[in-house]
């Protein structure tokens, strides 16, 4: 029974990788940092990410309402956001950030706004999926090193 739950959890994670939400290498790297002292390290990092980035998202939102747009500021905010998103392995989000930064470079305000709407959707969607994943992971309990899938 327990192995079945672990397999379900592994499948959830695999689906996040396959659908491109998460970067396999980075997310796995984070999971490898978990140990008995910090069994929920990844969840803590992700929670921290969503807490910190909420402020950034708000700043970008406000900056996008200004006229004319301050592309240097937007670029700066987005670089910060991209950095943290990379750190947690958020692949789709990272790509949206890259796109946004490109639009900043060319001074394309409409492009920025459009990309940002898409980015917000990705951001919320990933949050829900990760919340669900971590909730399930807590129920399943810590994996024994012996049966941790490689």
């Amino acid at each position: 029974m327990e192995r079945n739950l672990h397999r379900q959890l592994a499948n959830m994670k695999k689906s996040l990788f396959d659908q491109g939400y998460l970067d396999h290498e980075q997310f796995t790297q984070l999971e490898e940092l978990q140990d008995e002292a910090n069994p929920n390290f990844v969840e803590e990092v992700v929670t921290l990410y969503y807490r910190d980035s909420a402020r950034l998202i708000q700043n970008i939102e406000q900056a996008l309402e200004k006229n004319p747009l301050d592309f240097a500021k937007l670029d700066n905010y987005m670089h910060q956001f991209k950095g943290s998103s990379c750190s947690i392995g958020a692949r789709k989000l990272k790509n949206e950030c890259t796109q946004f930064i490109e639009y900043c470079k060319t001074g394309n305000g409409e492009g920025c706004k459009r990309t940002f709407q898409q980015l917000k959707k990705e951001y919320s969607s990933l949050k829900k999926k990760l919340e669900h994943y971590f909730q399930f992971a807590r129920q399943v309990g810590p994996l024994e090193k012996a049966c941790r899938p490689k």
């Binding site: 980075q26 490898e32 940092l33 140990d35 910090n38 910190d52 943290s84 750190s87």
Partner: protein, 178 residues
Amino acid sequence: MGSGSSSSSSSSGTAPNLHVLAVDDSHVDRKVIEKLLKISCCKVTAVESGRRALQYLGLDQLDGDKSPVEFDGLKVNLIMTDYSMPGMTGYELLKEIKGSSRLREIPVVIMSSENILGRIDRCMEEGAKEFLVKPVKLSDVRRLTDFILQGDEDHQKVGSRKRKLWDVPRSWFSTSCQ
């Protein structure tokens, strides 16, 4: 290298615990780098800005470089700093450290999410030990800590994957797009 205990506060008694000063304005990145270092058996002090780093190192004094007697932090064996930070960049922090006779021997590693040749060159010219492209991996940290424990000479021999970028002739890059 010591027992692979995740707790870094208690010394293993055999291998010395390196003390690393990590500087990054991103809370998320600070948390991750701290964990990477602790797992590699290092003591970690993580601060969020170049200013705070200089304060910790006893450099941020109005009348210049204070003597070690005034410095109450633990001896630092390695500094890992993010490049892009508000206020003082990692590059500026690097310059401050290399400009101090007391601190210039401490290896400084720059971390950046952007792989920009000019940036890398500038940092290496200013005396950075290494330039790591984020996200930083456990293998990067382990290589660094090994090098510090073994000494400089060994590191010269070990090829750094991250540095391959400028082993390639510069002309090759002028034709490739940004």
